[in-house]
């Protein structure tokens, strides 16, 4: 892929980071760190990889995305708004009473959201179900599922991993946001999940280990995953929690803390954005 396209995707990701920070500041509640670590992957999916139609969210030929780590809902919402599923102004209503932008993705209200997530560990099973259904229907659509590394501690993830390997779901691609942090601290200290690549390989997956902020690598890997036959692919993406806002980076304490009034202009400055309050 030419470098110009990568530059465009990187700029999109930057804008989406700005919108994440603004939306979370507006709601004064929500998950900052894991939204920022995941957004480069979400950007690549919605603005390069996936076939989808914002004007027709239920278009049959669409690829499906499941945000298994549902608390990173802001990352999904900014991508959907930017793509045109709903007005960007809605983002400022995040988590408010009456808003369709619930604290965790809710397929009942938000166009473009496929299933309800938020209870960690359940998403990959639903992605498997979609992949099975699409295969039954002879569809060319693919399913993408984004998980957290702490989320891998849930047993259901491994039941789903086993099933995806068993059923050779090559129309499924999982991405794991390995930002090395969860709520109570470092994943390695709370309940170590490594070696993640070996585990998935043992369950019959095609495994690719990348830098989850290297847009060229993300895009190339997603393209490559689509051509792998006979097994599901997992992209194990090494990321930085809070990526893009220096004082949020690598801090478990910013897992579920929104930017304060003082932090907002500084955060936007980190993202190369002027702040007009």
């Amino acid at each position: 892929m030419d470098s110009e396209k990568i530059t465009v995707l990187q700029e999109t990701a930057r804008q989406l980071r700005v919108d994440i920070v603004k939306a979370l500041h507006s709601s004064q509640s929500g998950h900052t760190g894991g939204s920022l670590s995941a957004i480069d992957m979400v950007t690549a999916l919605y603005f390069h990889t996936m076939r989808h139609n914002p004007a027709e969210p239920k278009w049959e030929g669409r690829d499906r995305f499941v945000l298994c780590k549902g608390h990173a809902a802001p990352a999904l919402y900014v991508a959907l708004a930017h793509a045109g599923y709903f007005p960007k102004e809605d983002l400022m209503m995040l988590r408010r009473l009456g808003s369709h932008l619930q604290g965790h993705p809710d397929s009942k209200g938000t166009p473009g959201v496929e299933v309800c997530t938020g209870s960690l560990g359940q998403g990959l099973s639903m992605a498997n179900g979609m992949a099975l259904a699409l295969r039954l229907d002879g569809s060319a659509s693919r399913v993408y599922a984004l998980l957290g590394d702490g989320e891998l501690q849930e047993g259901q993830v491994w039941e789903a991993a086993m099933a995806a390997g068993h059923y050779k779901l090559d129309n499924l691609c999982a991405l794991v946001d390995v930002n090395r942090l969860q709520i109570d601290g470092e994943v390695a200290k709370v309940m170590d999940v490594e070696p993640v690549t070996d585990k998935f390989r043992a369950f019959g997956w095609n495994v690719i280990d990348i830098d989850g902020h290297d847009m060229a690598a993300i895009v190339a890997t997603l393209d490559q995953a689509a051509s792998v036959k006979g097994k599901p692919t997992v992209i194990v993406a090494r990321t930085v929690k809070g990526k893009g806002v220096s004082f949020f980076e690598n801090k478990a304490s910013y897992h579920g803390v929104p930017p304060s009034d003082e932090e907002l202009p500084k955060a936007l400055e980190c993202l190369g954005e002027q702040c007009y309050l």
Partner: protein
């Protein structure tokens, strides 16, 4: 008595004290120790604290094993995950063998707020109440939480304690008596009885004040223990006031209202109204906004009180 304490803070404090007094107490959490406040115990007794990661089912099963080997495990996470994700482990590994496991869940009900419906447990009381051998406790405030946690530790068998996220007004004095299975009449009255649990008890007290100004005398009976039910205090309320309004931060299906309705309809039928969440999921919003949205404010209780008195008087 206008101090405001979150029941989870009282839990963290009490658990750390108990850890000092009883070396058999062990604590398990699932990556939410800062929120459930088991972190206070973890800091003091790191060797008796086990962070199980985001794996609630395994956590509850492990607790059952610890109990089988003589420990007194306290298991904490949000109510939605303790009761939801680990439901069958609670049923098979804890309740069925009558294991001495204490499940203390925080963030119960709609006052979880902005996280939304996926995180607001409005059915946990009903689910836990349906399990044989399970004791179900929903304290009203900080001081009562401290006593409930101590009582749970002293009791031999499975206990589910449901706590909240936010600060709530203190209803009970530090020296108010507490016993599992015993309700407390906190306001006397003759025209109707509010039977309440958790944070709705403070709301009912305020509702009784509203009604008093209108010449309606409302009794308030707080049931910290929903199972086993305090039948005596309920029979007395039904006989003496002849009208019941139940109130809980929970679905009207199967929780406190369900328990009271089941018991009274068989033993002393009286006009009864259940205040709670009307068989629907929660949604994002601020805690206070959601209490209004779901009709759980003192004004809503007062209205239910007026309605039930009219019904009683025909």
């Amino acid at each position: 008595m206008s101090t405001m304490i979150a029941t989870r803070d009282a839990y963290g404090q009490t658990l750390a004290e108990l850890g000092e007094e009883n070396k058999s107490i062990v604590v398990l959490d699932a990556d939410l120790s800062g929120s459930t406040k088991t972190s206070v115990f973890a800091k003091k007794f790191p060797e008796r604290f086990f962070n199980m990661g985001i794996a609630e089912a395994n956590m509850v099963g492990t607790a059952a094993g610890l109990a089988a080997a003589g420990k007194i495990p306290f298991v904490s996470t949000f109510a939605i995950f303790a009761v939801g994700r680990a439901w069958e482990q609670v049923r098979q590994s804890v309740a069925y063998p009558k294991a001495n496991v204490k499940i203390v869940a925080t963030h119960g009900g709609v006052t979880v707020g902005e996280d939304g419906g996926s995180h607001q447990s409005v059915e946990d009381i009903a689910i836990m109440r349906a399990v044989p051998n399970m004791t179900v406790i929903v304290p009203a405030d900080g001081p009562e939480t401290a006593k409930a946690i101590r009582a749970a530790a002293a009791y031999n068998g499975p206990v589910y304690v449901r706590l909240g996220r936010n600060k709530v007004p203190t209803v009970f004095a530090d020296d108010a008596p507490f016993a599992i299975g015993k309700g407390s009449q906190i306001v006397d009255g003759t025209d109707l009885t509010f039977v309440t649990t958790g944070l709705m008890t403070a709301q009912a007290k305020a509702a009784a004040d509203i009604l008093k100004a209108e010449g309606i005398s409302a009794r308030v009976v707080h049931l910290a223990t929903i199972k086993p039910l305090d039948c005596e205090i309920l029979l007395k309320a039904a006989r003496e006031t002849g009208a019941i309004v139940t109130a809980e931060e929970h679905s009207i299906v199967g929780g406190l209202g369900g328990a009271v309705a089941e018991f009274l309809s068989e033993n002393c039928p009286a006009p009864l109204k259940r205040v709670g969440v009307h068989d629907r999921f929660g949604l994002s919003g601020k805690a206070e906004e959601l209490l209004k949205y779901f009709g759980l404010m003192p004004a809503d209780l007062a209205e239910a009180g007026r309605e039930i008195v009219r019904k009683k008087r025909g």
